[in-house]
């Protein structure tokens, strides 16, 4: 089934029309998927040896249900990312989230990540859209870290019921400064790793 999407659908007509927003190049199926696939096969074989075929089908049924539930959200996330890449004005984004946006840019990235609805299916397309329209690594790191550590989605749906309110609230409180710190640290390292290419972020779009 993995062969379906092997082709990179680089539609030349799409870029010809409408806004000249830089397109994110899509990746063909690569080593990351193969790694996961191999891990899954090994694990499934281990489950089969341990629990027999019932164990395998039980997990399969559960995960297929989960997958069915996630699919519409993945679509929503992809659309959200595509719309944001299209409608955000590049000059404004580079000014407020670019390499020279300072603490303010990190705070905006943090706030954005904290209020972003949805799961990884929204966070990463939107973060990718931000990079495309001119945010720097630092602000985007702040956004991703903020989404993962202080975003409410996973905390409300999973962490509160599983870990309990006490742990969850303290965990979030302790995490509050981390997105800004991670973004600042990212910027600090980035300008030293790539001193000349401060603005050459278009190379990254692959």
């Amino acid at each position: 089934m993995s062969d379906l999407s092997l082709k990179d659908p680089a539609e030349p007509d799409e870029t010809a029309e409408g806004e000249p927003a830089p397109r994110r190049k899509r990746k063909p199926i690569g080593w990351s998927l193969i790694t996961i696939g191999v891990l899954v096969l090994i694990s499934a074989a281990l489950v089969w040896r341990r629990d027999g075929i019932e164990g395998v089908t039980e997990i399969l049924t559960h995960d297929v249900t989960l997958f069915g539930g996630i699919l519409p959200r993945v679509l929503a996330g992809c659309l959200l990312g595509a719309f944001i890449a299209e409608i955000l004005p590049h000059d404004k984004v580079s000014r407020s989230l670019g390499a020279d946006s300072g603490l303010k840019g990190l705070l905006i990235g943090t706030a954005f990540g904290a209020i972003l609805p949805g799961g990884p299916f929204t966070a990463y397309p939107v973060a990718s859209a931000l990079l495309t329209v001119g945010a720097d690594f630092g602000a985007t790191i702040a956004m991703v870290v903020s989404w993962t550590l202080i975003g409410y989605g996973r905390a409300v749906a999973w962490e509160l019921p599983i870990m309990g309110a006490d742990f969850t609230l303290w965990r979030i409180a302790i995490s509050l400064p981390l997105p800004v710190l991670a973004g600042a640290f990212g910027r600090f390292v980035y300008v030293r790793m790539y001193p000349a290419k401060k603005l050459a972020k278009k190379d990254d779009a692959e």
Partner: protein
């Protein structure tokens, strides 16, 4: 109304909101974004199928007792370091890391260690990096972000030790 439903509502309302802004810019802008988003979706589905449908198997075979055994309250900074490695090695998905964290807490794990474990898992669980982050984002950004995130579970554990919470 369940939390998941509420989050779905907010999600789709956001899509509708930005979609409307795109439409105001002109139908062409909207259809171009729709097509772009749909292609992203079609491209990502096989990966997510493999990852989500398969992650149950990975979760079923990871040795939970070993992970929770490492996170004892007297394990100190070695325990924190172990927790960070264990968090990175735990498969992603919304449940696994929290479940193991909860088991570790109940089994008498130290709060700073469990905190470091949950935060490391949230920040750079390898399976989430490979399954979700790499397909959507430039690989260079993903590795860079994961690398600069490494100190932060330690920092969180240090804060937890200082304030004596959770």
């Amino acid at each position: 109304m369940s939390a998941a439903l509420l989050i779905d509502l907010i999600l789709w309302a956001s899509v509708a909101g930005v979609g409307y802004i795109a439409y105001r810019r002109g139908p062409k802008v909207m259809t171009a974004s729709l097509r772009e988003g749909s292609w992203d979706f079609i491209n990502i589905v096989p990966r997510i199928a493999v990852g989500v449908i398969g992650s149950g198997y990975i979760a079923a075979v990871i040795p939970q007792e070993i992970i929770t055994g490492w996170l004892g309250p007297n394990s100190g900074w070695l325990g924190v370091a172990t927790a960070v490695v264990a968090g990175a090695a735990t498969p992603g998905g919304p449940v696994v890391g929290f479940s193991i964290g909860a088991v570790a807490l109940k089994a008498g794990g130290g709060a700073p260690q469990v905190l470091a474990y949950v935060i490391a898992w949230a920040l750079f669980a390898f399976q989430r990096l490979l399954l979700w982050e790499i397909p959507f984002m430039p690989a260079r950004f993903v590795w860079f972000r994961a690398a600069v995130s490494i100190p932060f579970p330690f920092l969180a554990a240090a804060i937890a030790m200082v304030i004596g919470k959770p």
